[in-house]
Structure formats: structure tokens, C-alpha cells
């Protein structure tokens, strides 16, 4: 009989997640992902004005509000039959691109890196950088003090094997601090066109409410230059350094090996062509995506609603005491299958489909540089690596969208809200495929359903008992010390979970 370990809460992700694992002979043999929070967005959206949706759904998540706002206005664009003006489409891409950059940077440095780098190495610092000296002084002072938890929130931590090269550790700590400023800059860059972030003001059906002028273009350009340099010369090299120090993580946390991407960043108003293409990859085979194959099961979720419904028929009826249920997440499935979403899914869909020569070249170069086979990307370290590569690709594409803007040309197409209509908004959040489905009757929201990235990744078992992707990635993972199950935490964090999103 194995030992049961509960990691609750899993910190350094967004929101309230608990992981329960059973460990037998140092190996996880069973895992449960438990989403421990619920607000009921799909319940209280009903009966409201349709245009409340893009503001309300942004509040599902403070890390990826832009993607929720975009999913909502895409659904409304469809319901109101609006054709986007070019500036409106480009500005949406620039806002969403800026938030992808922000989210990926914070995920690596502030949420994940402390699982690999040794923060205590700062006490060995001998250089003259003022902020590092101050940090060193602070840590030493805190440790010598009688504080309950000195150097919080950086200590305590799992006792484990961290990176042992002092120089790389200290550089990574410096980069942790630099990255705080960089992610802030990425938000500033988004706000040039979205008014404020988190929770943007300008995202509306028909385009955006902000206008384009030379000053805004040049402000965005200058910040983007700084971010691009950081991504190229700091973020990517740091991820590669961590990858080289922890090569075993290219073999860990594989998951379900099925991938789903909706595609993101529209390249045309008249077609579904996106910069990062969508698609489905099962057993290494690419298939076109068909949204009618999405269903959500609730047998193990705290809902009494009908199980197995398509989002257009979906309901959200809370049942907090439901027998056998262990999560506030529903269990989305595609054609009945468990699917991983996120940067890895996007890159694999692009690579396997051959639809993006840029992605193919980038991935080929990287795997040859690291001397790893393609299939090793499906792993804990592969997710970190691919996320960093995607950040670079998006930043570089932002320059191109910026170039296509026309100062003072319209950014929004006026519209009226029809008395009835339906729409679906499919896009990507930094952490994966995101869909919003809206049904309008009497000019009010009749039904609204969101199927969200972490709902896919951290889903509980489906009606047939099949585990979700993170549960599968945990099963089989070796844990060397069950009092410090850092391996499990590393597997979970590689998916960049956002529980506020997932439960909504």
C-alpha cells in the first residue's frame, strides 16, 4: 500500500490548487488535481447585457484577462456579424502579444525558477551590484534576526537538490529581479493600447476603443525593443542553462501526449488564419480542429449539471457536497480524449502540421543545439523551453504588427446588438486554448460558457474515469523524498496552471 501525500496549496501558480498523490516505492502511482475555488461566472452572466461579458469575463483571471476579453469580443463579433478594421485586429494582437510576453516571463522567473535555482546562493555573492548587495545584506540580516520566517517569501522551501553553480545561481537571482521590471514593462506596453491592465478598458466588439497615433506606435516599439533584448539575451539563455543542469526533466512529466490548440493572433479579417495555427495532434498525427467535438464531463466535478454536454448546451449548477466529486473544475474532452493545451500544444500543432515554417525552423535549431530528440519536448523542461521560444516568436511578430498599423485609421467598426444571436470566440491564453460561447435572446445573455486552458490541463477524471493531463503527467514521476515532493511540484508548475481561470 502506497503513501498518500497532499500538496495543498500548490503555491507559485495562480489560485487554489491542491494535489493529492499516492506514492509507492518512490514513484507516484495515482494523482488527483483538486481545484478548490468557485465563483460561478457562467451563472451570473445569464440575463445580463451581452457587452457586460467582455468586462466580467476578464475578471475570471488577473494573469490572462486579455485572452478572456478577446475570446468574449470574438464571440460577440460573430454574434453581431462585424468585420474588424485592420487597425482593430492589429491592436488586439499587440495587446494580447504584450500580455503573453508578460505572462511567460512571470511564469518562468517568479513562479517556476525557484524550484531549480538556489536562492540561498546570494549569501556567497562577492560582486558590487547594488541591488544584489542589498539583497545579500537583507537575507543575512533576516537570517540572523529572530524573525519567525526570515527571508520570506523566498524561504523556507523544499529541501532538495537545486542548481549548484554559484555564478549561475547569482545571475539567475539578478534576472529574477530584472524580470520583475521586464514583466511590468510588458504590462505598460499593453496599456498603451488597452488603457490599463489587469482588466483592460478598450476591448470591445468591432475592434478596440483606443486609437492609433505615431506616439503610441513609437512608445510600444521602444518597450518592445527592450523586451526583445531581454528575451533573447537573458530569458532564453537562462532556460537553456536550467535545462542543461536538469536534463532528467526532459524525460519527466510527459502527460497525455494529445495536444489541442485553437490558434491565436489573427492575420486577416476575412479568414481564420492565425500567426500561431490551431489544430489537434493525437498520437503524433495532425488533425484539423472541429469545435463540435468539445464536451465537458462532470462526474467527478462539484456540479449537478448534465454531463458530457457541448458548451452551447452547457450548464453550471453547483453541488458542493456531491458524492465522489473532488474538484471545482469540469473535465473537458475533445472527441472523448484527454488533451494538453498551452505553449507546448501550440508549438506541436504548428510543427506537426507544417503550417508555420518559422516554428519548424526555430524548433529544429533548438533541439539540435541541445542535442535532444523532438519527443523530449513533451516533458517538464520541454514546456519551459517551448514557452521561452514562443515568447521570442511573439515578440518578433509584434514588430511586424506594429509596422502594419495606420495612424488615425479606424480601430473599431460600429455595430448594434441583435435581439438574438450566437457566437463562439476561440483564442489562446498564454497557458492554452480558450473558448467562450455566447447565446443571446431578447438582447440579453441567455447562456454563456467558458472552456478554459487550465480546465483542460488540471481537469479531474472524466465520466469514464480517465485522468486529466496533469494527473497523467504526475503518475509515474519519481519522488525522492515524500516530505519534500519537489518533483511533483515541478511537474505541475510546468503547465503554468491558473485555477481562477479553470474554475471560473
Amino acid at each position: 500500500m502506497g503513501k498518500s501525500v497532499v500538496i495543498d496549496p500548490i503555491t507559485r501558480i495562480e489560485g487554489h490548487l491542491a494535489i493529492k498523490v499516492e506514492v509507492e516505492q518512490d514513484r507516484i502511482v495515482n494523482a488527483e488535481c483538486r481545484g478548490e475555488m468557485f465563483r460561478g461566472f457562467e451563472v451570473f452572466l445569464r440575463g445580463r447585457d451581452p457587452m457586460d461579458a467582455q468586462q466580467i469575463t476578464q475578471r475570471i483571471c488577473g494573469v490572462c484577462p486579455i485572452s478572456h476579453g478577446i475570446a468574449s469580443i470574438l464571440a460577440q463579433d460573430m454574434a453581431y456579424q462585424i468585420r474588424l478594421p485592420s487597425n482593430g485586429r492589429l491592436v488586439r494582437n499587440l495587446i494580447q502579444g504584450a500580455n503573453f510576453i508578460q505572462s511567460h516571463i512571470i511564469h518562468f522567473y517568479h513562479l517556476s525558477a525557484l524550484d531549480f535555482i538556489d536562492i540561498a546562493a546570494i549569501t556567497k555573492y562577492t560582486g558590487q551590484d547594488p541591488i544584489l548587495l542589498e539583497l545579500k545584506t537583507w537575507v543575512e540580516f533576516q537570517i540572523s534576526s529572530k524573525m519567525l520566517y526570515p527571508a520570506a517569501p523566498f524561504l523556507p522551501r523544499y529541501e532538495s537538490q537545486y542548481l549548484d553553480n554559484v555564478e549561475i545561481n547569482i545571475q539567475a537571482i539578478k534576472h529574477y529581479l530584472d524580470a520583475l521590471e521586464m514583466r511590468k514593462l510588458a504590462h505598460k506596453m499593453a496599456a498603451i493600447f488597452c488603457g490599463k491592465i489587469p482588466h483592460a478598458a478598450t476591448l470591445i466588439p468591432g475592434g478596440v476603443s483606443e486609437h492609433v497615433n505615431a506616439q503610441k506606435i513609437i512608445n510600444y516599439f521602444e518597450i518592445l525593443k527592450k523586451l526583445h533584448v531581454f528575451i533573447d539575451t537573458v530569458y532564453l539563455p537562462d532556460v537553456i542553462a536550467v535545462a542543461k543542469a536538469f536534463p532528467q526533466y526532459f524525460k519527466m512529466g510527459k502527460g497525455c501526449n494529445n495536444f489541442l490548440a485553437f490558434g491565436v493572433f489573427k492575420e486577416s479579417a476575412d479568414s481564420d488564419i492565425t500567426f500561431l495555427p490551431g489544430g489537434v495532434v493525437m498520437s503524433s498525427n495532425y488533425m484539423a480542429f472541429n469545435s463540435s467535438k468539445i464536451t465537458e464531463d462532470v462526474r467527478y466535478s462539484r456540479y449537478s449539471s448534465q454531463s458530457g454536454s457541448h458548451p452551447t448546451q452547457g450548464e453550471t449548477i453547483a453541488d458542493p457536497h456531491k458524492t465522489g466529486a473532488y474538484s471545482w473544475l469540469k473535465a473537458p474532452r475533445y472527441d472523448g480524449q484527454t488533451m494538453e493545451v498551452g505553449p507546448l500544444a501550440r508549438i506541436i500543432a504548428a510543427y506537426v502540421s507544417g503550417k508555420s515554417p518559422l516554428v519548424t525552423t526555430t524548433i529544429n535549431q533548438t533541439i539540435s543545439q541541445l542535442n535532444i530528440p523532438f519527443e523530449d519536448l513533451v516533458s517538464v523542461m520541454g514546456r519551459h523551453l517551448v514557452r521561452a521560444l514562443e515568447t521570442k516568436l511573439i515578440a518578433e511578430q509584434c514588430f511586424k504588427w506594429l509596422d502594419q498599423l495606420v495612424p488615425d485609421a479606424p480601430c473599431v467598426e460600429p455595430f448594434t446588438i441583435p435581439s438574438s444571436g450566437e457566437g463562439v470566440g476561440l483564442t489562446e491564453a498564454p497557458r492554452g486554448a480558450l473558448g467562450h460561447w455566447i447565446e443571446i435572446a431578447d438582447k440579453k445573455i441567455k447562456n454563456y460558457q467558458c472552456v478554459v486552458p487550465t480546465t483542460w490541463n488540471c481537469s479531474p477524471r472524466d465520466d469514464k474515469g480517465n485522468p486529466g493531463p496533469v494527473e497523467l503527467a504526475l503518475i509515474g514521476t519519481s519522488v525522492s523524498d515524500i516530505k519534500n515532493p519537489i518533483e511533483a511540484a515541478r511537474v505541475v508548475r510546468s503547465f503554468d496552471p491558473c485555477i481562477a481561470c479553470a474554475v471560473h
Partner: protein, 309 residues
């Protein structure tokens, strides 16, 4: 000061050691001690998230002068924050409970509280509702961060299934009425949090209005400080988003929302909602999103003739 964790003698001893390590002369000791005293007086902050989106935490990381790193090492001692703490699992719960047992911390609450469905927010298998009741008892000060924690916000919208409410209302229901500093905003502005914290630490309790909001940030209406106020006066009203003119007829609620966004601006002061062509939706207001019959925007049927600009 009550937050002082070590004695002045300890400081001087440590400073001397540090000065020697850094190779400074004895004359530099008082200066360094001063810096260290500021450092060491950092009060413990315990940050708990209820039904939140983490947007206020993310917004706090957008703070300028002090930046986020300076905030963490020079101003506060963040004992626990779910999104930032290295500690995970059992250790996190131990930190939360030992901090509560020791007392004397500032409690920051982000997100609403599911008053009628305690299962809708659990931390370490314990309902947040119960944890909050313990945490407020031994806190030295309590700050509700963001509109969800102050007034209930989006999760407390009409027809919500969890009985979501702000911290003060929840505590009042339980018969507890400690002073709670209310910092609304969806999200709240980093200056509002940092400004309130620094006031509290350096100068004591800031002046609050009848709703518990610091007057420094929430004493004036958006409308009275709006760059488009002259348009309102001249009855030059925008017909659509992004138009020039006052947004009042598009549903702007700057006329009854207290905050300083239009002067302060957001994200390192680069932009704000109204300057970006969008009406104020009242995200810092006590009735934000509550009434489902009161939409954020009002768009008429004649807007198809609008140029959009």
C-alpha cells in the same frame, strides 16, 4: 516602533560587522544602521486570497518607486503570499498558522468570501471563511485589497451562487467589526496599496472616509477630475467608443465613482480607461457589477451612423 523585531543594539552590532565586511570605515556605521533600521522595521504581512483572480496581486507587482523587489525587501516582510512564496503545501499552512499564532501582522485579503458556500474556497482543506476569522483576531491591521475584498465585486454580482461578499460585510455577519482599510479597484492601483501601506507604517492610520477608504486616493469623483469634463459642460457627448467627447451617454459612471485614475493613470502612468476611449465602468465603486439590470455600457440604436471617431 511596535513592528521592531530586534533591538537597536543588535542593529549596531550587525552594522559594525557588515561595515567591516564591506570595508567601510567606522564613520559609515550610523548611516548603514539607519538603513538597516528601516529594513528591520518591516512589518509582517500575511496575504490571503479568497475568491480572487489574483489581478490585485499582479497589479501590485506593477508598482513603481518602490518597485516590487524594493517593496519586498525594504518595506514589508511578506510572510506568505500564495503566488510568490517559495514554500509549498504543508509548509505554507504551517507558515500561515504560526504567523497567526504569533500575531502582530498586517492582514491583506484579496478576493471575496463565499459566505453561503464555504466549500467554494478552501486553503489546506480549511474553508477560507474559518481561516479569515482566525486571521483577523490576531492581526495588527487589516487591509481589504480590491473591489472583491472591499465590496464583494464581480463574484457578488446578482444571482451569484456562493453568497460572495466583501471582508467587512462577512465579519459584520459574524459579529466582528474590526477596523478594515478598504482599497477598492478592479484591480486596485499599485499606488493605492503601496501608498496606504507606507502611510500606515510611517505615519499611522491614514484618514479614511465613511466606507473605510483612504481619503488620499478616494475622496474625489472621477467625473470631477476627468479630462473630458469640459466636454460634459459643453454637452459634447461621444456617440461611440473611441469618439471624442464625454462618455456620459455611453454609460460612463465616473459621475458616481470615487477614485483618481484620470489624474494618476495606470501602468507606470502610460494610460487610463477614459483617455483610451472607454467609459468608466465604476470598478472601484461599492455597487460595481452588482445589479444585472444596470449594464456597463449604453449604446443606442443610432450608432451605426457614427463614424467611430
Amino acid at each position: 516602533m511596535s513592528f521592531l523585531m530586534v533591538t537597536r543594539r543588535d542593529f549596531l552590532k550587525y552594522s559594525a560587522k557588515l561595515a567591516a565586511v564591506l570595508g567601510f570605515g567606522a564613520s559609515s556605521i550610523p548611516r548603514i544602521s539607519e538603513a538597516l533600521i528601516t529594513l528591520s522595521e518591516n512589518p509582517s504581512v500575511l496575504w490571503l486570497q479568497g475568491q480572487s483572480c489574483s489581478g490585485c496581486s499582479v497589479s501590485l507587482l506593477n508598482t513603481d518607486d518602490p518597485g516590487p523587489a524594493e517593496l519586498l525587501i525594504r518595506y514589508i516582510s511578506l510572510q506568505f503570499h500564495s503566488t510568490l512564496s517559495t514554500a509549498t503545501g504543508e509548509t505554507s499552512i504551517e507558515i500561515i498558522h504560526r504567523t497567526i499564532d504569533k500575531g502582530g501582522y498586517l492582514l491583506a485579503v484579496e478576493g471575496s468570501i463565499p459566505s453561503t458556500m464555504p466549500e467554494a474556497c478552501l486553503i489546506g482543506e480549511e474553508p477560507l471563511n474559518e481561516l479569515i476569522l482566525k486571521a483577523v483576531r490576531s492581526a495588527k491591521g487589516i487591509i481589504a485589497v480590491g473591489t472583491c475584498a472591499t465590496f464583494g465585486g464581480i463574484p457578488s454580482a446578482e444571482n451569484n451562487p456562493t453568497g460572495a461578499m466583501g471582508l467587512s460585510s462577512f465579519l459584520k455577519e459574524k459579529g466582528i467589526t474590526p477596523p478594515v482599510i478598504q482599497i477598492p479597484g478592479c484591480p486596485t492601483h499599485p499606488d493605492w496599496i503601496v501608498g496606504t501601506l507606507v502611510h500606515l507604517l510611517k505615519f499611522g492610520m491614514p484618514e479614511l472616509d465613511t466606507m473605510g477608504r483612504p481619503k488620499l486616493f478616494f475622496s474625489k469623483l472621477i467625473h470631477d477630475q476627468c479630462p473630458r469634463f469640459p466636454d460634459y459642460e459643453r454637452e459634447h457627448f461621444a456617440k461611440f467608443f473611441g469618439d471624442k467627447g464625454c462618455f456620459f451617454k455611453l454609460g460612463c459612471v465616473g459621475t458616481n465613482t470615487y477614485a483618481d485614475c484620470t489624474l494618476r493613470y495606470w501602468n507606470s502612468r502610460i494610460n487610463s480607461c477614459i483617455p483610451a476611449g472607454a467609459p468608466c465602468i465604476g470598478c472601484a465603486s461599492d455597487h460595481f457589477a452588482k445589479n444585472s439590470k444596470f449594464p456597463f455600457y449604453r449604446i443606442g440604436t443610432d450608432i451605426s451612423t457614427s463614424s467611430g471617431h
